[in-house]
Homo-oligomer: 376 residues x 4
């Protein structure tokens, strides 16, 4: 496996599996002087922690994180910040269950592709590194990025925008409302009324043994105009990669996204105008990014989250050991939807990506000696 | 500007602007022994060349490419392949037009973000490096990847799937039909009847001074199961980055994509079964990628292309030099839609990305010594 | 701090400081199916562990390593291998000592450059990340590479070739002798008689409160011809970077190295000849690398290790807090020379670099389809 | 071939061979607003241009460079700067000579390793990409870096310090003298008297059909303290890689280098002291870099350049086509030593490396918000 490192300047490396001893993240590029403690990381981890509601997986992980490097007296030193989370709920009976079924492809999961790629040595327990559990390390790293971005006035919130056919109404809500409200329910939906409908519906579907997907929206505010390297490393392209690398994400759009394909140019173009000495735009179909570079408006990205693959309904499948058709029994320990829990991961990947671009730009800009005018 | 290099093993670096002297691409990682000539590159370049129909930009660029390194007697040598395309249609009257309007933001374009980022030294002529013209160099590099992938039996075709509300019906078409048909019309739509409707509609909208967007689908066949690095460098995430880095692309989805958010798990899961000794899937909602790794099915990706920003309708805007509201006159030299021409670029980025992953995997796999069984 | 990740395909990321909680290494690119256990890593760590002889630092670190990810039932799974080493000998009295002297530059150390770079938040304790202690994580990663290279028949040994003016005679020794003998004494010198002289001399110098440097030679055998990317990523250049990144290394040469500057071309050129159907060379002034690519001969690299900076003699210095000249008292806890302990680190960096190149080449070569003939 | 791109922030990609159509360099990361013209590049290229004296190769290349992208009205725009140099002295008779001898290994050259790696498709003409001719593209890129560093007050000069046993005396010379004097003679040695001896001796050796090597010293002044990423990407390690990637370089040392292995710690440690409010060092055994980070003193690096491999003396060799011992006739078109011409390349690689680190640090530092005090 390659590709366990992400970023160019703010660089995150992770390791760890669902039923391994521990997960870890190393953040390279953390500047000195940031006040940081385990609790800062824990706060974010708790947002994606399983076992907290009846629509999540019942797996009991405390997700206790320990920062073990890069610190002196409560402040970062500039050295890479290492964080480790030991797995605890890896009881033998669960391992046994996975071992018994290890040759059966669980439809929608990655058993087949991992088995092709890693052969008989693949980690068959709890999906191994393919498990959503690896994202705990991303969230830990994202918590470091969050604190750094806060100093620049950049904030990120992710929430469930749509669940199956139920769509939240958030247009009129401020960033603060979206953030505060999404923490008030287990589905991370800021439209509180709709959230109840979503939860209700999820419970129904769960009882039927089935699962749900939805759309998560990630809103980033406070990004100055100028972020993003405008050819291959566009801010939009970088965000797409970061977000599409999250398990279960099957699509990504920015601003009007796929909706813009049904607009004419005269409707889609965001018209600039002067406001309080700054250039602003009357609409935000661009999602805050023009030509791969942030334009000072809110950055709005949405991702498509597929329904959880693990269902409590018997499914046809293949036994990989004997290459024969087989049947997979219903599985009980599962999330009815991961839309809620994935919000913390989506916010983390967004923060890491934006911070990485901020550092790239600053390094580049500092040798230019040009003045950025235009009222900014 | 950073980020003009793409890929880890098959690595493409480009430079050049709309009204600069030339565009170039350097392909690193090209193996020795590939028969290659200028005409191989030209064939792909001609697919995105402007000035070929009344719905494209009237700019006359011959896009003559010259391979200037990495060759000996008609075969690649293993050294990096350098390719250069001199710009020809850069007449003073066009430069003058751009110069006169250089302080006005063209809505939907990147003048403002470039001006913020690069200051007064920004290349104001014809959008400079932000112009879609830079994609000619991508297409040249993609042509090299195309020939390499052909030896592995991997083929890519990109075509217009949807234009505004007009959707093509391609489900029943083979790869060969999609490829052959899409070359038969200027909108690159394999459903020939629908193609005519699209062209007709585009002409109407063009006469109204307006522009259109749409959805381009990229189909990749022949990819063996196993490609993709399953955490940050998932094949899906890498494709998303490559495709979202193309100008005007605002969204990307794989397989059922956003549609999967309206399915239940029991419906979305692709059921595996044995067929001719191989593991296959009854549906392809995954788009050929499970857990970030190819599963042997066709890889199906769609991108959202926004309507061309340049329109022949007067628009409100801002004059960046004096920071005042202004008006931008209608512009005549433009594409009514770029959906057709972008197909060659989307195919190129897909090829480069798939080849890069193939080389990564091969290098990794060659030190493992494991056998890949499972009938593959 | 950036740059805590090394390599392109076999990629090592480390973190941890001298007096932090723990050191860690994450190895990305480890193939599945490698039998690996903590003891494999421990064996290499023990070669650089302090406190084992009277010429080493008396710091008592057990350097107990725990592999916490990437494993299932004793074999690697393909997932990144995470390893952690908790620091134990970080008693408050030592911390106090460092705190009392934290504003004084210890001549030859990096206090000043770290303080300039990381400001007042720098980790002042035991040199923080600038301490040679960080190399424990490199050695852990190198132990993984060692096992992988062993399967390819590639072996590496590092030993002290010269200490001050005392030079070992190893020319006639086989790889096996050099390896076995260097483990027989605390200075890692395979010429056992000379080793005793070195140890004797080191003890004398230590009593005088002073320290010594020397030359470490790294011999790599079994590398097939063809490794190394021949422009910027020459095998020689990559080895130079890896080895010069080890603290205290001030020079690096390959083959005849600086000696070749005193030869004529007719003397320096290695003459090829046929031997047993293979192309071999009569001399090895090239050190096994021609044009940045391995030529099948032994790879011979030497590094210059400066005398340990920490001495038991009072030195003039500067107090950085008040920017005034000051005096630094003699320090007692120190290595009289690190030439011996650095051998394990040099071997580790060589292994990591060679493996990385092996994987790069294999990935590249696998898409070429050419035959490598020439009797190889 | 991989590895034709160098750097992380200021990133240089090159291509081109000895007898291909052209060489090119693309510089990514060039800021906007730098006044730049072909003549700026030409000035540096002329320093390594062949055919200018009787001790250089008689090949007549004008090395005319054309900047073809990244410019507008004489200033860089921020877009990548592309530069191309067409080869001119590639007459059929020379090609024929190379073709006739293409199966013979030229001792000291890379024919064998390239043939092993790239098979029968290798570029056999004039050493192809293994030729020193590829360094013209490095020099072109270095000229861009030179102008950017000049704005920061950072200057680099490279000169011949030693040729065989003849050593120049430069200790007392200022940077300006070294620079001015080294341009006064064809061997680039600032000690003018010694330069004459070197040239005289080179002529003698040339008449004997033989060649010479030597030591080139690279002096960098004006680097502020703080540059360099102190683990794997130490400034010293990065310089070592950049310099060791130059053809014919077999060793690299910084400051006292290998000489430090014969010093005691008390002698080798550079003693800091206060001078004019700044921390300075009484000696510079460190070569201006402590712990991988610049300390504000001059950065002094030396490289070992082996004698030119091409000699006018008949040599034994192997015919690779028939795998039999053979004889290689004397070759006449050659450099008697490349020590002089390599200076321009060494300076270029140093500049590119230092600029890259400057940009990395600035990007990192800009998010730290700390104050760098210590009188700097």
């Amino acid at each position: 496996m390659l590709g366990n490192t992400y970023g160019r300047m703010f660089r995150v490396t992770t390791c760890g599996e669902s039923y391994g001893k521990a997960l870890a993240a190393i953040c390279d590029g953390v500047p000195p002087g940031l006040a940081l403690c385990d609790a800062d990381i824990q706060e974010e981890l708790d947002k994606r922690r399983p076992g907290q509601s009846d629509i999540d997986s019942p797996r009991q992980e405390t997700d206790q994180v320990q920062i073990f490097s890069g610190m002196r007296d409560g402040y970062t030193t500039g050295a890479p910040v290492g964080m480790i989370i030991y797995n605890v709920d890896t009881l033998p009976q669960h391992v046994k269950e996975y071992e018994d079924a290890k040759d059966l492809i669980r439809p929608g999961h990655a058993e087949y592709t991992y088995r092709i790629k890693y052969g008989d040595y693949v980690d068959w327990c709890g999906a191994g590194r393919a498990s959503g559990r690896e994202t705990a390390a991303r969230v830990a790293a994202g918590a470091v990025a969050k604190k750094l971005l806060a100093r620049e006035g950049i904030r990120v919130v992710a929430y469930v925008r749509q669940l199956m056919d139920i769509t939240a109404n958030v247009e009129e809500m401020s960033f603060e409302e979206r953030e505060a409200n999404s923490l008030k329910n287990e589905i991370f939906c800021p439209d509180l009324e709709t959230a109840q409908k979503m939860i209700e519906f999820t419970r129904q579907v769960k009882e039927q043994g089935d699962t749900l997907g939805g759309v998560v929206e990630i809103l980033t505010v406070g990004v100055p105009p100028g972020l993003g390297e405008p050819v291959f490393d566009k801010l939009s392209a970088s965000l797409a990669k970061g977000l599409m690398s999250i398990p279960a994400v099957k699509g990504c759009e920015i601003g009007a996204g796929f909706g813009s394909t049904k607009m004419r140019g005269s409707e889609c173009n965001d018209i600039p105008y002067m406001k309080d000495g700054k250039i602003r735009f009357r609409t935000n179909n661009s999602g805050g990014i023009d030509g791969g570079i942030s334009n000072g408006e809110d950055i709005v990205v949405r991702i498509a989250v597929k329904p959880t693959s693990t269902i409590s309904i018997t499914q046809e499948t293949v036994n990989m050991a004997i290459l024969q058709d087989a049947e997979l029994a219903a599985i009980t320990r599962r999330d009815a939807t991961i839309c809620g829990r994935i919000c913390a991961v989506a916010a983390a990947m967004t923060r890491i990506t934006v911070l990485d671009h901020l550092m790239m730009w600053r390094g580049y800009d500092a040798v230019s000696g040009i003045e950025h005018k235009l009222g900014w």
